[in-house]
Amino acid sequence: MLRRWLAPICLAGVSLLPACASGPGLSARPWRNPKDGMTFLRVPAGSLTAQVSAEPNGFVPQEVTFTDGFWLGRTEVTVGQFARFVKETGYVTEAEKAGNRFTWRSPGFPQDASHPIVYLSYNDALSYARWAGVDLPTEAEWLYACRAGTTTKFYWGDIVDDRYLWHRCNTQGTGTRPVALKRPNAWGLYDMVGNAWEYCRTGDGDTCFALRGASWTRCPQYRTRQGTMTGNLLEEAVEPRLQRCDPYPKYPPYPWDDDRGFRCIRRTVPAPEYLR
């Protein structure tokens, strides 16, 4: 009887495999965070060559080495996981405190527990990560994990491929989709491009952040008011370029949105100071 059920499940349920209960040691086995149930996958040691700002020459390439590797959430944090956090802690998001018309509870389109959480500020994402005993990745860590050892523009190749991501055209602009429906990258990470933008730490601790990976609202490309076709906007979202805090942004920062989410990281050693 058991065998009868086991065979179909083994064939179809590859995603059921990475479930381990112990804390992350040096093994490459996935780690399941008991706090929120998120599965973390091992990102191996290695390096990323990224463009970093350098006066007066604009950007110069720099190699960033991850000597110990780390664990990264297999998916973006979901509505169900965030709801557990709120239930346990009574946390109120900044959009809720501000009386914003839309919040994670009502983002303006239907979501269920399997969708990525949105309408969070960077501070909300940090609060969740602290509660879960993990952290937010730095931009360099995120980019390294996203590329998963590839050298193409995206982790699947050089052109947009709908088998790997949710963007504004294939969602028809109607909202997020459940996580992990599209194909993962070579290290098993889902939705690194598309579905929800992901908050990353940048150079200045808790005060600066970057958004990476694009989202369901992002056009692959469009014609600007001048009539020129934009470059590949999805490509920009994964470009290996490390951002710096802009003390004079052109527009006031927008603190939350219907396509901003995050995923978490678990490190065995602290991130290098220059990446935090």
């Binding site: 065998r3 009868r4 303006g108 949710w166 602009g173 056009c219 014609r223």
Partner: protein, 157 residues
Amino acid sequence: MKRGMTRREVMGAGVLLAGCMCGCRTEGDPAASRSTCCDTPALEPESVTLGSGGLTIDLLKAPSLQEVGSSAYVIDKSRSLHLIVVHPEKRRYCVLSRLCTHGGQVVSYNRLRGVLQCNNFNHSIFDLNGRVLKGPAERPLVSYPFVFVADALVVSL
């Protein structure tokens, strides 16, 4: 004695696999990509007559606006106007500024949600009256009044 999978087990696995594949592909197929686009077409030039008080759009000469759910843009350089014309329902049209009031980038019509959405990163959302539904834009899009004259829209600018 070891036994291979029975035919029923193999079929069970096949059904499960097929179910997964269908569930993953439904919305991601190429047809769905074509049906919503960030790129609004230009209104056919022969359908537009620019006058001193406004513009006239001859709907019979505007195939891009014939289908319900369609939209098209027109630029009046003399007045520095970028307009988007939306045909959300039968015999209902809307004429609005096409430039987002936040950063000045173009908006496009999302027919499934019935809204105008900026194509830029922050993607402000407006209803078809121009009202802001989601920021960061704070000001509404200008909505232009018009009247039907036979098969034409006469828009006051």
